[in-house]
Amino acid sequence: MKPNPRRRFLQLAPIAALAGCAAKPDEKTEDEKLPSMVGAPIRAYGERSPHDKTKRLVPDLKRPQLGSTRTPLADTEGIITPAGLHFERHHAGVPDIDPAKHSLLIHGLVDRPLVFSMAELKRLPSESRIHFIECSGNSGGEWKAPGGPDAARSCGLASCSEWTGVSLKVLLDEAGLKKEGKWLLAEGADACKMFRSLPIEKCLADCFVAYAQNGEALRPEQGFPLRLMVPGYEGNVCVKWLRQIKVVDVPYQSREETSHYTDLLPDGTARQFSFVVDAKSIITSPSGGQKMNGAGFHEIRGLAWSGRGRIDRVDVSTDGGKTWAKATLQEPRLSMAFTRFRMPWQWDGQPVEIMSRAVDESGYVQPTREELVAARGVNSQYHYNGIKSWKIESDGSVKGA
């Protein structure tokens, strides 16, 4: 921590007085200097303050190309995740792609197979939409061991950005979708050429290919120069570094839709093509790992989202789930996007358990962990959306419960 200039001045002042030498008129005190000191010059691309150390949670992996980083949800405000803090999940590292050489091939059950350069894609009608992306493995640890210690560890595989690109329907109309085309294969240009099968109805309804995030080009780890956006579906289907779309008649049973991203049930069967993200919420402040700075007023803040549409309501409990009060929802509430909720709260300094519960426009209520386990056991791995609570101790420490 840097020394406080005021404190240093106060420490120095008596010494100066003792020495009997007041500051000369053209010399400024430390306090006077700060606001008028000439600062850093202009620069071509803004970087954040060196004092802002917020970063993604990076696990220690033997293969850092095969893994994920987590958004520090407790250290973000509003509903937009800065691109540099958006969670990552890669299956074979981040490719370095020259956009001038990248293209998107659309073929299969279409009348006219087409290749689009990035420049051509950018000429097509564009749209911008704010959507969350959540990895279906987010909070997966809570199935077997609830109590993830902080918001990033228990819920950081979710982020929200504004994405800009071209409607998939526009592209499929250009290529002329054949009526036998029922599924679409989307493949990335990463080393493992990861692909997923998606039902054509969803592709035509609201999917798009995105080349921009939060007003600038996609970051490499978010799929530069092009990714698929499948609003409300599990993150893995938002294929990054998108290079190929093939329209087919049946799902092609890729490794990522069979051995992974399928939800094992207690009877030994597994749900497949479990795409939709169920409503979920998390209190980001106060949250695990933080320290309450004294009793009295605190604003409870958090995020809620649903793959089935808008968030209608978020309830907050500050007594371990016995009673609930409605939180205020920040407008605009967008479909399949983060919604920020807030609730004023007086903490009496006593130990307490706080939690939030989201309700979406379909009427779905975020379940407790007990409800989830009753429905799916504990080996389901994916799509955990149970109510998350934080325990606040009388010393102000906050822990995962």
């Binding site: 091939l105 092609y252 069979t258 094992l264 597994a270 497949q272 009427g363």
Partner: protein, 177 residues
């Protein structure tokens, strides 16, 4: 009447035509180079063949470092075992116990393996390694020839183990509201 239907047909055709006329038609060679998808019925499988027996050298040189000398797992999880474990407290999801389609194995090895140099194996080597993993899981014999015709016919033990997504399976109370 005929004239009217002709006009209607032309309108329909126009409506189906490209609106923005951007992009260009790929060559057949471009498409076949890029299109490495393999359908569960085997469509897309290339010529070539291999047996588990043929695979031993390729496997030990290219695969064993991560997957173990017998597919038992090392830096990565195991490729074999886990039979009848899916209902247990500790399910072990392997090619043998969990994967529903044999074609996925060829598709994935070809597109993504070896991890640090995908595409290194030729078609015969890929068929052979596919056969080896199937053999280790007790699904085929060591000398069984795996190729574009035989692979899709291999029935995986967990072929019928996948069900439709039944969600929402929680949060039912509010739905009645």
């Amino acid at each position: 009447m005929r004239r009217l239907s002709l006009i209607l047909c032309s309108i329909a055709l126009l409506a189906q035509g490209p609106k923005y006329k951007l992009g260009h038609a790929p060559s057949d060679a471009d498409v076949s180079k890029t299109d490495i998808f393999i359908a569960p019925d085997g469509k897309g499988l290339p010529p070539g063949k291999g047996t588990a027996f043929d695979a031993k050298e390729t496997y030990s040189r290219r695969c064993a470092r991560c997957h173990g000398t017998q597919g038992q797992g090392d830096q990565e999880g195991p490729l074999v075992g886990g039979k009848d474990s899916l209902k247990s407290a500790k399910p072990l999801k392997t090619v043998g116990s969990f994967w529903p389609h044999s074609t996925t194995l060829y598709d994935y090895i070809r597109r993504a393996m070896p991890f640090d140099n995908p595409g290194l194996l030729d078609a015969n080597q890929t068929y052979a390694v596919t056969a080896l993993i199937l053999h280790w899981n007790g699904i085929i014999g060591e000398k069984d020839v795996i190729d574009a015709t035989t692979l899709p016919k291999v029935k995986m033990p967990n072929r019928d183990g996948f069900v439709k997504d039944e969600r929402p399976d929680t949060g039912a109370k509010a739905k009645k509201k």
